[in-house]
């Protein structure tokens, strides 16, 4: 079997039949194979043989099941962390701009760092003090058991497997929502639908709005009691 030997015209057509069956030929090659099949009708029988072979290969692959462990979580835990956080990558709020400023100091900027750090510390102190007074509870337990910080009001969403990422992002963004975590077991994603102070009426309205995206979303699970 000399792989460097040039195939005859018929042999090359026979070789292309595999891609003809999987639909991965260019229009020009499809026309070429069609012409071959017209010239050599006996070759058409091979299409059935390729179908059998392909089914055997697909079955062999499908018999290999995914690792049971939560591989995605393990992988994310191993990702080398950079200075650019997920939040910084997703948005361009004044907070993000300040973060970028702080993480890329120049000699001229160093003076500002101390001021910015001081402002952040004071801000955090004010927030913590307010929360301690109100005694509000932070976070909730997801179905997978992981605690999620409640930066906003979140719901668990399962998207259709066929839904495009661009469209999902566009629809969520249009509503001021975004994916903040996932996928969780069951292909669930944590979607922030608004601020943590949202009223029940507004939360329910937003959940209903999401449920209305039937072309993209298969289920919306409320995380509130």
């Amino acid at each position: 079997m000399d792989e460097n030997r040039a195939l005859s015209e018929r042999e090359e057509c026979e070789a292309l039949l595999a891609w003809y069956v999987t639909g991965r030929l260019s229009a020009a090659d499809i026309a070429r194979v069609d012409a071959c099949l017209a010239r050599h009708p006996d070759m058409r029988r091979q299409l059935g043989l390729i179908g059998e072979d392909r089914e055997a290969v697909v079955r062999a692959h499908n018999a290999i099941v995914a690792p049971r462990r939560l591989a995605a979580d393990q992988l994310v835990a191993r990702l080398p962390k950079s200075r650019v956080s997920r939040l910084a990558a997703l948005a361009s709020t004044p907070f993000d701009l300040m973060r970028n400023f702080l993480t890329a100091p120049s000699p001229g900027a160093v003076r500002w760092v101390a001021l910015a750090a001081l402002a952040i510390v004071l801000g955090q102190a004010a927030v913590i003090g307010t929360l301690m007074r109100s005694g509000s509870e932070l976070g909730y337990q997801t179905a997978s058991g992981g605690a999620v910080n409640k930066a906003g009001t979140n719901v668990l969403v399962r998207f259709h497997a066929s839904a495009g990422m661009d469209l999902i992002s566009a629809e969520l963004s249009k509503r001021g929502m975004r994916i903040v975590d996932g996928p969780k077991p069951g292909q669930l994603y944590v979607v922030e639908i608004g601020p943590p102070t949202m009223s029940d009426t507004e939360r329910l309205a937003r959940e209903a709005d999401l449920r209305g995206l039937t072309g993209l979303i298969s289920s919306v699970l409320s995380t509130s009691a």
Partner: protein, 187 residues
Amino acid sequence: MTDASDDIALLTRIARKDEVAMRLLFGRHHLPVFRFLVRMVRSEAIAEELANEVFLEVWRHAGAFEQRSAVTTWMLTIARNRAATMLRKRRDEPMDDDAATKFADDADDPEVAAQKGDKAAAIRRCMEKLSAEHREIVDLVYYHELSVAEVSTVVGIPEATVKTRMFYARKKLSELLAAAGVDRGWP
């Protein structure tokens, strides 16, 4: 989420170190990459580790992806290179009995399967008897549905050789089946 453009959008976000995008890409491609690796290295534990290495490399180099190939092709190329490196290191080490047993199909031998009239089982068994090169190209074409050009990129051989190798892989399979008593009338 099956479009190549979605993969490009995810890679753009991964280049900005967006972990959610990484999880999405992982969810979409981990299983095919894992299966490709299992078929190459014949060990699920090693394949799992190699698959993680593939995604770590994607995380590190997403910004350098030039879109000259599909994301799937790029990932399979990384996977193949990783597996080939590992196999070179292990070339002199015999496969342990457990691993050899694990990847021996539970089905009958091709001859027995053919006698029982179980043609599909005979085909599966004969597929496993193909050389690693032939099995690889058959997997890439039939399961991963790569084009001639994409297989050429992943395997690192000219497109003409891809066609020739596929031709000979099919021919060899038919010969193995004929030897097992399944005459397919080709070649």
